[in-house]
């Protein structure tokens, strides 16, 4: 074996070597993030990751072996271009023994993958028998483009199941069985750190199970194309310790907080955030997150539960009135207040959530303001805009029914944020 | 056939054989029918899936079907296959008269089947209130049997074309133009006969099942259609009396045979649809 041709053509070789050398460069550490499947936080995702590693190692080893042979053959049997008249090589047609052994070897390699695969299929399908009694059950329903979460075990007198939206709170350390339903098109429920996705399909009763080993704050996202705003259909899962979880449930079962009476008269001075925040019109699709939140999301969520600010009661009262006048009540439930609609998310405790607009924006006054003033810029095609702010006329055209101006938005923000 | 393959030495365009000895048209039709198997397979499974998982409020098919009529039309379609086979056999022997007679018979039976289906659809829609959109059963039933009906209709159209084709004069070059116009006239008369025939038969079926049937009322109500139908039949008879040498002979047996393959296939599909969609409901 000789290498001279390899050395004689430095430019071309260098180019090829560079191409190969570039590959690892691009494989750098991009495996950590809020939706990373490598940083698992529960047994289902862990099992899925372990299986992935099995496939990865088997494939990598085969790739290295086969790739080396291919690379070796390419270099070794390269013809010398200066000698085109060489006799052709032996016209051999193959070797059955080699073929059969390679087929056998491939089957062996696949068996290595197949066994844990089959095991994983049964494991990840449903809560293990031993844990069934301990499992907590919730229902998740996909809407274009947000998620409704329902707690069938938590009954509220006169109002049925406890409902929330876009932030699923679960007990940590316990298996949770999520029944997956959809009201319109196909969606898919995916919390990468906790479990792989399962689709929400109309006329089909799907479910999945997951478990968060420790309390924490997890990102989730719809993973099946579901229309115009599929990309911005997100949600969160918050896992709490047993005691925190029970406290949260108790609070959620309460009707909406009454910060001020509907027809309040004299009120405190407006010295608080709702009157004082500044709002600037945002670009379409502008990011809705603060860095502080990103760094400590779980802490931010806990903070959001606390009633730390005094409400501007006059504004809150105005907002509550506007909530009726602008027909918001027709689609949103605010238990204990006027809202009775069920086509939109339940807002009874919206002030205690960290996100709005289907997990898209951080729940700050500015973001809520933006969402209320121009919902279609935030989430194109959403039903609050098409069907609320806009209505079809007789000719089938969309025409505006109402708008929300700056002052009205401030009042609504104050009201909604008072709903802890 | 296979022995001829050995003589395939020079040029396919001139040698009587193909690589396999199977005529191209026949191979084409067989492969197409394989594709059509998958087509009807998907369609029938769709019907079965929805029939096995009926949504709430589905109609009871037994209250809609009239199994006697469908059994009759199934029998008719089967018989048409027999005539089709006889037509293929006749043309292979070069018996033109018999070929034409059997082609006409196949067309006639095919049309009876189609008339039954038209009547059935109208009856289901008007008397039983089952439409394409009223229920899932309606959707799959009409789509499945309608698609099959389209296949039968295409077969009938093909048969009619073939029948008219059999009148093409032997020495066509000189007389091509008149023959072409004649063939169009022939086709139009045929089309009139088919449309009017189906109309009067279906109308008759409706009247005979409705209360207060009177032959006079029927004849009066559809006099024009009846007269037109009889006139077009007469026209067909006259056209069928054309004499003279024609170029339709044994060498066209492959065309008739290919058409026959299609026709038999469509029949076989119905032999599957009939029990699956109709008969199984009664068990």
């Amino acid at each position: 074996m000789t290498f001279p041709s390899f050395l004689r053509l430095p430019a071309r070789r260098a180019c090829q070597a560079l191409a190969v050398a570039c590959l690892p460069l691009f494989t750098g550490g991009w495996i950590y993030g809020p939706q990373s499947t490598f940083q698992t936080e529960g047994p289902v995702a862990k099992a899925q990751l372990d299986l992935f590693y099995v496939t990865l190692w088997v494939c990598t080893i085969i790739f290295i072996v086969v790739g080396s042979v291919l690379a070796y053959a390419t270099l070794k049997f390269k013809a010398n271009d200066n000698d085109p008249e060489r006799e052709p090589p032996e016209q051999s047609h193959g070797n059955p023994l080699v073929e059969i052994s390679l087929i056998g070897a491939s089957i062996m390699a696949l068996v290595i993958i197949a066994v844990p695969t089959v095991h994983g299929i049964w494991y990840s399908y449903d809560v293990p028998e031993a844990e069934k009694a301990n499992a907590y059950e919730v229902n998740a329903t996909g809407y274009q483009w947000w998620f409704k979460f329902e707690y069938p075990k938590e009954q509220i007198d006169g109002s049925g199941n406890l409902l929330t939206a876009n932030e699923l709170v679960i007990p940590a350390g316990r298996p949770v069985r999520v029944n997956l339903r959809t009201i319109d098109v196909i969606h898919s429920f995916w919390v990468p750190k906790l479990a792989g996705k399962v689709d929400m399909i109309p006329n089909r009763g799907n479910f999945l199970w997951l478990q968060a080993d420790n309390p924490g704050y997890f990102w989730g996202q719809c993973a099946e194309y579901c229309g115009e705003s599929h990309a911005v259909m997100r949600f969160r899962v918050i896992a709490l310790s047993e005691s925190d979880f029970n406290a949260w449930l108790a609070n959620q079962k309460n009707p909406a907080r009454k910060a001020g009476s509907l027809f309040a008269g004299a009120i405190d001075q407006p010295r608080i955030q709702f009157a004082s925040y500044t709002y600037e019109k945002q670009k379409r699709n502008a990011p809705g997150w603060s860095e502080a939140f990103d760094q400590q999301p779980f802490a931010a969520w806990k903070k959001q539960q606390e009633i730390t600010v005094d409400d501007n009661l006059e504004l809150v009262a105005q907002g509550r009135k506007l909530f009726q006048e602008k027909t918001c009540v027709g689609c949103h439930t605010i238990r204990g207040h006027e809202g009775i609609g069920i086509t939109g998310p339940d807002l009874t405790h919206v002030g205690a959530r960290t996100t709005i607009a289907g997990g898209l924006l951080e729940n700050t006054p500015q973001n809520l303001h933006r969402w209320l003033v121009e919902p279609n810029e935030v989430k194109p095609g959403n039903k609050m805009w098409f069907g609320g702010y806009m209505a079809r006329n007789d000719a089938g055209q969309w025409t505006p029914t109402f708008t929300i101006n700056d002052n009205e938005a401030r009042a609504l923000v104050a009201y909604l944020h008072s709903l802890k | 056939m296979s022995s001829q393959a050995a003589t395939a030495l020079i040029d396919h365009h001139h040698d009587a054989t193909t690589s396999t000895g199977i005529p191209n048209k026949k191979l084409f039709m067989w492969t197409f029918l394989a594709s059509d198997c998958m087509f009807f397979g998907s369609l029938i499974s769709m019907h079965v899936v929805y029939r096995v998982h009926p949504p709430a409020g589905s109609p009871d098919p037994r209250s809609i079907f009239s199994i006697e009529l469908t059994s009759f039309s199934t029998f008719i379609l089967l018989m048409s296959s027999l005539l089709m086979a006889l037509a293929v056999n006749a043309i292979q022997k070069g018996n033109l008269r018999s070929t034409r007679r059997n082609l006409l018979g196949t067309i006639f039976f095919g049309l009876i089947f189609l008339s039954c289906q038209v009547y059935e659809f109208q009856h289901f829609v008007h008397a039983k209130g089952m439409t394409l959109s009223s229920s899932l059963f309606g959707s799959t039933f009409y789509t499945l049997t309608g698609t099959h009906g389209c296949h039968v209709a295409i077969g009938v159209l093909w048969l009619i074309f073939m029948y008219i084709r059999s009148f093409k004069p032997e020495n066509a070059d000189a007389s091509r133009k008149p023959w072409f116009i004649l063939s169009i006239v022939h086709f139009l008369i045929f089309a009139a006969a088919v449309v009017l025939g189906v109309h009067v038969v279906v109308a008759f079926a409706h009247q005979i099942t409705a209360p207060g049937f009177s032959l006079g009322g029927y004849l009066g109500g559809h006099a024009l259609a009846l007269v037109g139908f009889l006139a077009s039949l007469a026209g067909l008879y006259l056209m069928g009396r054309q004499s003279g040498e024609v170029d339709f002979n044994q060498s066209h047996a492959i065309d008739v045979e290919t058409m026959g393959l299609y026709w038999h296939f469509v029949d076989i599909v119905w032999i599957i649809i009939f029990p699956v969609v109709y008969l199984l409901e009664y068990f």
Partner: protein, 653 residues
């Protein structure tokens, strides 16, 4: 039977044009636009397919670049969400149905008859019809760019119930989804017709001595692909019929409120969709199996195994569709069965890789551009195959499904696989088709730019997917750890775009100014290289007799014997009346245009217009049948030139 079989081939020679009514004067011109509209020559139809496919490939590529530009940075506003959804729908639909499939069809048309020693396909007019129907489908799919409804935005998979009127119509008379339905329907009919033709051609029109086990591997893969098309397209046809009935006539197939099951759409779609994946890759494997032996100067290693593994892939390909649906809650048993079946399909695929390596082992590798693309194919296809095996592990797939990992996987098999092979094929057969050779420097330059750009684009996507980025999202937030990978992927896409541009500019330049080459410039092994380039319309002056698997290689090494044999055959053929050629016809084109008109009317809910067009379809089909296959004869002089009947002594009889 003797007589019947004969009529398939012996059309009566046309009488002189003047004796016939104008409407039946069959066009005879060999130049100008009419000659292209009425052509029945498989080589011209192949070129039409190829050029259209490349144009749509560039359109699909532009859509891809827009997608990548939108995702270059988080919270980008280049495209609105609606426009983005249109882009990815059209990108996928265009690349699958309007670029890769027709490009494969171009090679089937052009190369396959030459490889089996035939003068044309079995049904030349039907072949033209398949092309014009393809063009009609392509127009229907793309007409949305010019109307208010816009192009389809339901995804190329069109999952119900998103395609229903309630969810896909942005306004009451939105017909974009109807156009999608009709477009796919017409394309499906075109593919099935084309494939039936190829099947009959391969089985029935082989040259003497060309037994099935001597067929070139590309022809084998054509046959398997054609069978897969014929058997898998009906499933999507039925799914589309159901959807069409829902949308046009208010049926309930996928109407959830009346009990429709959207999951049924998925089953029907993937019963088609998975074989479709192999429809895209098998022709590519065929091309690679031609290029590697040619440039290794060695026969394909393990020919029977390569052929049978193709058959196994084709068969198993019908039994694994539900691995696209692992996350639909099929239950443990079904999931396990489909997972294992999917792993099983990796065996015949792996076997092909082993055989390709076996082919170059011990050869003399000529590093020409097609060989570079072929070797690049083996590398990238291997990576794509491995990520495919990872998907087969169903629980792991629950994390990968509908994430960018899947995007990376199928671009590795579709670009790194299908496209690389097709680009290799263009390079490889360019000298045969146009008689000019592409510059090695520019060819290799384009290969390296494409290869690097491709890997830079799609390798990071593996990480994006595993890092939780879902597909089909028009935007993402900057806090997810996806920024740098997305930016690099976009840069890679631009590099890839530049590479493709270099490739095509080189091709266009070569077409006009490239170096002319003589017969058989690569020292190749299969029959298509035995004829002069560009090939004459009659392909083979004398139909070859095949004595061995690599037929042309054998001819080159047994020249005396072959020359004697051919002289004898030439005489015999002349005695039979000369070379029979099929006549051109207007009706394939006219029938396809009537179908185009009807489909557009139908999509627009204009049933009267559709019925008028249907009458046109029947009328044209009748005329088509009426004019008959036709045909005329060519006679060659000693040098292989066609003797002009007007000048020469011979005339068609």
């Amino acid at each position: 039977m003797d007589v019947t079989a004969k009529t398939d081939f012996i059309g009566k020679d046309s009488p002189a044009a003047s004796e016939r009514p104008a409407i039946f004067t069959r066009p005879t011109t060999k130049t100008g636009i009419v000659s292209w509209l009425t052509t029945v020559d498989h080589k011209r139809i192949g070129l039409l397919y190829g050029v259209s496919a490349l144009i749509f490939f560039l359109v699909g590529g532009a859509e891809a670049l827009l997608i990548r530009l939108q995702l270059a940075v988080p919270n980008n506003t280049l495209l609105s969400s609606h426009a983005y959804n249109e882009m990815f729908t059209m990108h996928a639909t265009t690349m699958i149905f309007l670029a890769i499939m027709p490009l494969s069809a171009a090679f089937f048309n052009y190369i396959m008859p030459l490889q089996i020693g035939a003068r044309d396909v079995a049904f030349p007019r039907l072949n033209g019809f398949a092309y014009w129907l393809f063009l009609a489908g392509a127009i229907i799919l793309n007409v949305g760019w010019f109307i208010k409804s816009g192009v389809p935005d339901v995804g190329w998979f069109g999952y119900a119930p998103l395609t229903s009127k309630a969810f896909s119509n942005t306004f009451a008379t939105d017909i974009s989804t109807d156009l999608w339905v009709m477009g796919l329907q017409v394309l499906g009919v075109s593919s099935v017709i084309g494939s039936l033709n190829f099947i009959v051609t391969i089985i029935n029109l082989r040259a003497p001595g060309m037994t099935m086990m001597r067929l070139p591997v590309f022809t084998w893969m054509t046959l398997f692909t054609a069978f897969m098309i014929v058997l898998s397209f009906p499933a999507i046809t039925i799914a589309l019929v159901g959807l069409m009935m829902d949308r046009q006539f208010g049926a309930n197939f996928f109407e959830v409120s009346n009990g429709g099951l959207p999951i049924l759409w998925q089953h029907l779609f993937w019963v088609f969709g998975h074989p479709e994946v192999y429809i895209l890759i098998l022709p590519a494997m065929g091309i690679i199996s031609e290029v590697l032996p040619c440039f290794s100067r060695k026969p394909l290693f393990g020919y029977p195994i390569v052929v049978f593994s193709g058959a196994v892939i084709g068969t198993l390909g019908f039994g694994v569709w539900s691995h696209h649906m692992f996350t639909t809650g099929m239950g443990t048993m079904a999931t396990a069965a489909f997972a294992l079946a999917t792993m099983a399909i990796a065996v015949p695929t792996g076997v092909k890789i082993f055989n390709w390596i076996g082919t170059i082992w011990g050869g003399q590798l000529q590093m020409r551009t097609p060989m570079m693309f072929a070797l690049g194919f083996v590398w990238t296809f291997m990576i794509g195959g491995f990520s495919g095996v990872m998907h087969a592990a169903a629980p792991a797939d629950a994390q990968q499904q509908d994430s960018y990992f899947v995007v990376a996987h199928f671009h590795y098999v579709l670009i790194g696989g299908s496209l690389f092979a097709l680009l290799a094929g263009i390079h490889y057969w360019f000298p045969l088709i146009f008689g000019r050779k592409v510059s090695e420097f520019w060819g290799k330059l384009s290969f390296w730019i494409i290869f690097i750009g491709f890997n830079v684009t799609f390798f990071p996507m593996h990480f994006l997917g595993l890092n939780g980025m879902p597909r089909r999202t028009f935007t993402y937030d900057g806090n997810m750890g996806w920024n740098s990978a997305n930016l690099i992927a976009t840069i890679g896409a631009i590099i890839l775009g530049i590479g493709i541009a270099v490739y095509f500019v080189t091709m266009v330049y070569t077409y006009y100014k490239g170096q002319r080459v003589g017969r058989d410039p690569w020292n190749a092994r299969t029959l298509e290289w035995s004829i002069q380039n560009p090939p004459p319309e009659y392909n083979f002056a004398v139909i070859p007799t095949v004595h061995a698997r690599d037929a042309f290689w054998y001819e080159k090494h047994h020249q005396a014997e072959i020359a004697e044999e051919q002289a004898a055959h030439a005489k015999a053929e002349e005695a039979h009346g000369g070379i029979h050629m099929p006549s051109q016809s207007w009706f394939p084109f006219l029938t396809a245009m009537a179908i185009l008109t009807g489909s557009l009317f139908f999509a627009d809910h204009n049933f009267l217009g559709a019925i008028c067009a249907a009458v046109g379809i029947v009328a044209f089909a009748y005329l088509w049948a009426w004019e008959g296959p036709g045909g005329y004869h060519l006679h060659l002089d000693k040098d292989g030139n066609v003797i002009d009947p007007k000048k020469g002594g011979h005339s068609t009889h």
